[in-house]
């Protein structure tokens, strides 16, 4: 410390240089990525999927299924026209819809990662009126396959005819055309979600050229994410500087010397630079969580500096050497600052125990930032005080000020009378606390765990508006997918070979005239030989069939024409065998899916669902004159197969593979939810489990969910349990630290009481007012613990030392409610208000964090100065009897904070 005070300029220079280094390491690769390939540039991540680790099973499955079913992230354009009685189904509006669709098809650019490929819109999977087929009756029993809207309609009547056709097709109704027949949607699939900004911007520009009464709502998850990324930076650019300003004014209010306040502000900035620099340099991303790091570090970073300044303020005497005053200040404050820093770090670091990667990063880096702030506070702040010219401190300090003002301030008087209440009526305070706690416990059990990323935007945000409009018109814009997979049992290739051999023999013996194939007997014999040979080698039934298939095909290249037909017949038998596993052609399986879909509708959350069963029923109906009674699953697997082959005679044969894999072993049902609330998705999941439990099918079908709406539920569940663990973990760590600090179990437990009551109250209130327990609320619990224990440390330490010097608690408590309590209130105000600028942020989670952390800190401050003195008053004879420990601890904690 002496060395620091002797070379204040060197300390300052070191701080500036390291900060510049951090800025360069993070800034250079961001601005000039090519010149600095070894360094990590800034990387923004707004993907909610990343709330789960990349290798998390649900996420791996989600991505595998997306690929398997050719599903893409989509930009959704909802088009409404409220001024026309038929909505957008008029000549003029549909012309614009057509033009926009044609334009969307062209939005492709060379892929920066692979110049041979293109990135942007996936044209063949684009869903729009003009890109889908209509299957309808063409008169005289003729069925017509045609584009639903090959060209823009030339009359309003044609526009209405298009609507009529579209509403007949279940797949389109409620998805592409609104159920009320007024609005349409475009679903624009993207090669990757990174393209969404470019695509959405281009679409907006195109829409701007239209004019007219139509409104175009451009939305979809990738667009929301992009917007989110932008607003995240707005948050950092607005809230963080406002926080700086607020802290600056609060400190100015307390110390009245700009020259002194500059030091803590510099420490706050340096801590933020170090932390964010390290975050970027280590390749971590700017995520919704990590974007809040600066605003968390700033108020915490100035805290220790405030302690030093307060103490310096009290001790400063112009006539004494400044160096000695600072040394005395640092000696008094070193330990308590270390401990409060450690508890805060422990609170944040405990977030590392959650299974959510962005939350881990958030917790660990704030812990680092708090540590950095502490380091520069104990080095740079004393050094900076040494650098201040003497004349600038003229009239500074308690001594100097006391001579000027005599009457105690309002706050001083208010706090003193509060202290009296806790001393005279401790039971009243404790009883009130107890009653509030009971109410809090009740409230706690009312807590509703729920989240919805769309609701992270303000209600007036264009994304929220689009979301509302589209959900009013369509079957729901929140997509979840239920995959059903045939869980086939294997019998082993040997047993299978035997069965196949029997089939070959039976075919060879068949003597029906119709089935006669020359050379069949001879060819069967040869095929059976081959099956026998293969049976020992093939790993699975499928491998056996594949090997035999290859053998026969090779044979066909050389055999004479006379036996070729028999070999073709063997191929036919192979195909028959293969088809036995194609369960999604089985009528009973499709009927089961259909029943399941009806059940989904009964949940009230699901607006619509699409599946293979709907495709089959629709095509079947059109094959049978479009009659409503024919809207059903036909009675044999062959009939289903032939219906589906008919369906594939369209402009979009690949559409079938969004619903089933070509091996017909896996199928997925598209579920459109009206709400993206996790609680609603969870209800649907539960309801499906129940239905499947009550309706066991003969075939073993494994069901599993994917889709982002479902992923949100998964990470929320992990978050809730993870947060509970993190909270309990940090609670224990802080408790152990307290017991060690006070060298007493009783005092350790005592120090935990105010924050426990505070957190209980806050979460009780959350339950009572019906605020959803969402991501930001979850994160707050454990980090507020580390912050609010500080007050108890200071309060108890000063109480103990004053008890010792004054001899009894009656006298001591009055002193405690003087300067020490004043310091606690100051701190609660600075930190609490320091977070309030988050209210200016454009995104709801930031606002939630701002309000709740301010509430927690102010409540914790109040709980500390009310509950602890009341408890001490009631327990004074017992707790102050632990003389030895007290004496020892007081030497280390003397002074505490002020």
């Amino acid at each position: 410390m002496k060395r620091i005070l002797a070379h204040p300029l060197i300390v300052t220079a070191l701080m500036v240089l390291t900060s510049i280094a951090f800025i360069l390491v993070a800034g250079l690769p961001t601005l000039w990525p090519e010149q600095y390939p070894a360094l990590n540039p800034i990387h923004v991540d707004t993907d909610p999927e990343n709330m789960l680790p990349k290798d998390e099973a649900t996420r791996v499955f989600h991505n595998a299924m997306k690929k398997q079913m050719s599903l893409y992230d989509m930009v959704v354009v909802g088009i409404v026209n409220d001024s026309h009685p038929d909505g957008v189904f008029n000549k003029a509006s549909l012309a614009k819809v057509f033009e926009l669709t044609e334009y969307a098809k062209t939005l492709r650019w060379p892929d920066p990662e692979d110049p041979d490929k293109q990135a942007g819109v996936v044209e063949i999977d684009l869903l729009a009126l003009s890109t889908v087929d209509s299957m309808s009756q063409g008169g005289l029993g003729v069925v017509t396959f045609e584009w639903l809207m090959q060209n823009p309609p030339s009359t309003d009547a044609e526009a209405l005819a298009i609507r009529e056709k579209a509403l007949r097709i279940p797949f389109l109704k409620g998805t592409l055309v609104s159920e009320d027949g007024k609005a349409v949607a475009l679903y624009i699939p993207l090669t990757s979600k990174e393209m969404s900004h470019k695509v959405a911007t281009a679409l907006e520009a195109k829409v701007a050229t239209f004019g007219g009464d139509e409104r175009f709502h451009i939305t979809g998850l990738p667009v929301a994410e992009d917007t989110f990324g932008v607003e995240m930076f707005v948050q950092m650019a607005i809230s963080a500087p406002i926080a700086m300003v607020v802290i600056f004014f609060l400190m100015y209010f307390f110390f009245r010397r700009i020259v002194l306040i500059v030091g803590p502000m510099i420490v706050a900035m340096v801590s933020v630079i170090w932390t964010m620099g390290l975050l970027i340099a280590t390749g971590n991303t700017i995520h919704i969580m990590s974007s809040m790091i600066p605003i968390f570090i700033m108020p915490i970073a100035v805290l220790d500096a405030i302690h030093i300044l307060s103490e310096f303020f009290d001790r400063y005497d112009e006539s004494k050497p400044r160096k000695e005053t600072i040394l005395a200040v640092m000696q008094t404050l070193f330990k308590p600052m270390l401990y409060t820093t450690l508890t805060t770090m422990a609170g944040f670091a405990s977030l590392a125990f959650t299974p959510i990667p962005p939350v881990k990063v958030f917790g660990l880096f704030i812990a680092f930032g708090v540590g950095a702030a502490w380091f520069w506070t104990i080095t740079f702040i004393p050094a900076s005080i040494m650098l201040i010219p003497k004349r600038m401190l003229k009239g500074f300090g308690l001594k100097q000020e006391k001579s000027q003002t005599a009457t105690p301030s309002l706050m001083t008087r208010l706090l003193a009378s509060m202290g009296e209440i806790t001393y005279r009526h401790p039971k009243l305070v404790i009883a009130t606390t107890a009653i509030l706690s009971v109410i809090a416990v009740y409230g706690f059990f009312q807590i509703r765990i729920n989240d919805n990323p769309i609701k992270w935007f303000n209600a007036s945000h264009p994304i929220r508006v689009a979301d509302k409009v589209l959900n009013d018109h369509f079957g729901g814009t929140y997509m979840a997918y239920l995959s059903l997979e045939y869980d086939s049992e294997t019998e082993g290739s040997e047993a299978y070979a035997e069965r196949f051999t029997a089939a070959l023999k039976a075919r060879a013996r068949s003597d029906e005239e119709d089935a006669f194939v020359p050379m069949m007997a001879e060819v069967s014999k040869e095929a059976i030989e081959e099956v026998k040979r293969l049976a020992g080698k093939a790993e699975s039934e499928a491998a056996l069939l594949d090997a035999l298939d290859a053998y026969v095909n090779k044979k066909l290249d050389t055999v004479p024409f006379e036996s070729a037909e028999a070999w073709e017949e063997v191929l036919f038998l192979i195909d028959l065998q293969r088809q036995q596993g194609q369960v999604f052609k089985q009528p009973e399986v499709l009927r089961f899916m259909s029943d399941l879909q009806d059940h989904l509708l009964s949940t009230g959350v699901v607006g619509k669902s699409n599946s293979l069963a709907d495709v089959v029923k629709t095509v079947h109906r059109e094959l049978f004159l479009g009659e409503a009674a024919a809207y059903r699953i036909p009675d044999s697997a062959g009939a289903v197969a032939q219906t589906l082959m008919t369906y594939q005679n369209s402009h979009r044969p690949q559409d079938l593979w969004h619903f089933v894999t070509p091996d017909y072993k896996t199928s997925s049902i598209w579920v459109q939810l009206k709400s993206g609330d996790n609680i609603d998705m969870a209800r649907v999941v539960e309801s499906v489990d129940e239905f499947i439990g009550n309706h066991p099918s003969d075939l073993p079908l494994k069901h599993r969910w994917f889709g982002l709406t479902y992923i949100n539920v998964v990470w929320q569940e992990k978050m809730v349990s993870g947060m509970l663990n993190a909270f309990l973990g940090s609670f224990l760590i802080v408790l152990v630290m307290m017991i060690f600090l006070f060298r007493s179990i009783t005092w350790g437990i005592l120090s935990m009481i105010p924050l426990t009551v505070t957190i209980g109250l806050i979460y009780g209130v959350i339950g009572l007012i019906g605020k959803d327990y969402d991501m930001p609320v979850a994160v707050l619990s454990s980090l507020s613990l580390g912050l609010s224990v500080d007050y108890a440390i200071h309060f108890l330490a000063r109480s103990r030392s004053l008890q010792q010097t004054e001899g009894n608690w009656e006298k001591a408590h009055r002193h405690v409610f003087g300067e020490p309590v004043r310091a606690i209130v100051r701190n609660a105000v600075v930190v609490g208000f320091g977070f309030l600028p988050l209210l200016a942020a454009p995104l709801v989670p930031y606002q939630t964090v701002g309000i709740f952390i301010a509430a927690i800190l102010l409540t914790a401050g109040a709980a500390t100065i009310l509950i602890l003195p009341a408890l001490i008053t009631m327990m004074q004879n017992w707790i102050f009897s632990e003389k030895q420990a007290v004496g020892q601890a007081n030497t280390t904690l003397k002074g505490g904070l002020s």
């Binding site: 045609e146 055999v559 094959l623 008919t646």
Partner: protein, 271 residues
């Protein structure tokens, strides 16, 4: 004994392409004349014909599906027109569950075709409106029009280049609203008049669909494509079609191309 599948390698085909043209062959043909000859070679050789066809469809994920059918084709004799109306009968063998499904076309030049579908499992004969022939042929990358032939009067043809081996023609639809392409380019072999390659361009002048003849054999004196590929450049899926046991002039009777034969396939002609 004749092998069931002929094998003239691609090498042989290249040899065929490299046959030098005598100077006399340098007569200048009009674009329409070239297209007429190519159309004849591709769709009208012999008075009728049969082929055992395998379609192997590979999607963008590499998943394969196969269709196996017999194709019968008969030119409707006409006093007044050459290369005009035709009849097609497509009988499916595999996948096993679409076995016996039949697709039949009466192709008319100058008016809409007649199309029928027979679905045995539903015991249903269905007439299909042929207003749009540019839809997928049973889920493959080929269109119905690729199987039965696009009317040569539907496009305007321009000869844009004559290379050593090929006439390169650009074709624009007379009614652009009816088709999804803006134009297509075709490479027609100068000696055989076989269309070797076709590239379809969309409105952005990007190629989105490509046809290539992969193997040509001379069957009964007629150069015949026995293997071809259609590739969808957008979805990266492709369909390779193999024509085996191609036979011309088998005297197919007119009557088998009627509704009655959909339910009772003419077995002896399908082998």
């Amino acid at each position: 004994m004749k092998p069931y599948r002929w094998h003239i390698t691609l090498g042989a085909f290249i040899l065929l392409l490299s046959i030098p043209f005598p100077a006399a062959a340098k007569e200048t043909l009009s674009a329409d004349a070239i297209i007429e000859k190519a159309n004849h070679v591709a769709y009208y050789q012999g008075k009728d014909g049969r082929a055992q066809v395998s379609m192997n469809i590979t999607d963008s994920q590499g998943r394969k599906r196969q269709r196996r059918f017999t194709l019968l084709r008969r030119n409707v004799p006409s006093e007044t027109q050459v290369d005009a109306d035709q009849q097609f009968y497509v009988y499916f063998h595999r996948p096993a569950d679409v076995n016996k499904t039949v697709f039949m076309v009466h192709k008319h030049v100058g008016k809409e075709d007649d199309r029928w579908l027979y679905l045995p499992a539903l015991d249903l004969v269905k007439r299909i409106a042929a207003s749009d022939e540019r839809t997928s042929f049973v889920g493959s990358d080929f269109f119905y029009e690729d199987v039965s032939g696009r009317g040569i009067d539907e496009d305007r043809h321009t000869l844009i280049e004559t290379t050593k081996n090929f006439y390169v023609l650009e074709n624009h639809p007379k009614d652009p609203a009816e088709v999804e392409f803006e134009s297509y380019k075709v490479w027609i072999h100068r000696k055989t008049f076989i269309p070797i390659k076709m590239s379809y361009f969309n409105k952005n002048k990007e190629i989105y669909r490509t046809y290539e003849a992969l193997k040509v054999e001379t069957i009964q004196g007629r150069p015949t494509v026995v293997k071809a590929r259609m590739k969808d450049e957008r979805g990266q899926s492709e369909t390779v079609v193999d024509y085996r046991n191609v036979t011309y002039d088998i005297d197919l009777p007119d009557e088998i191309f009627t509704e009655r034969y959909l339910r009772n396939p003419p077995k002896r002609y399908l082998r």
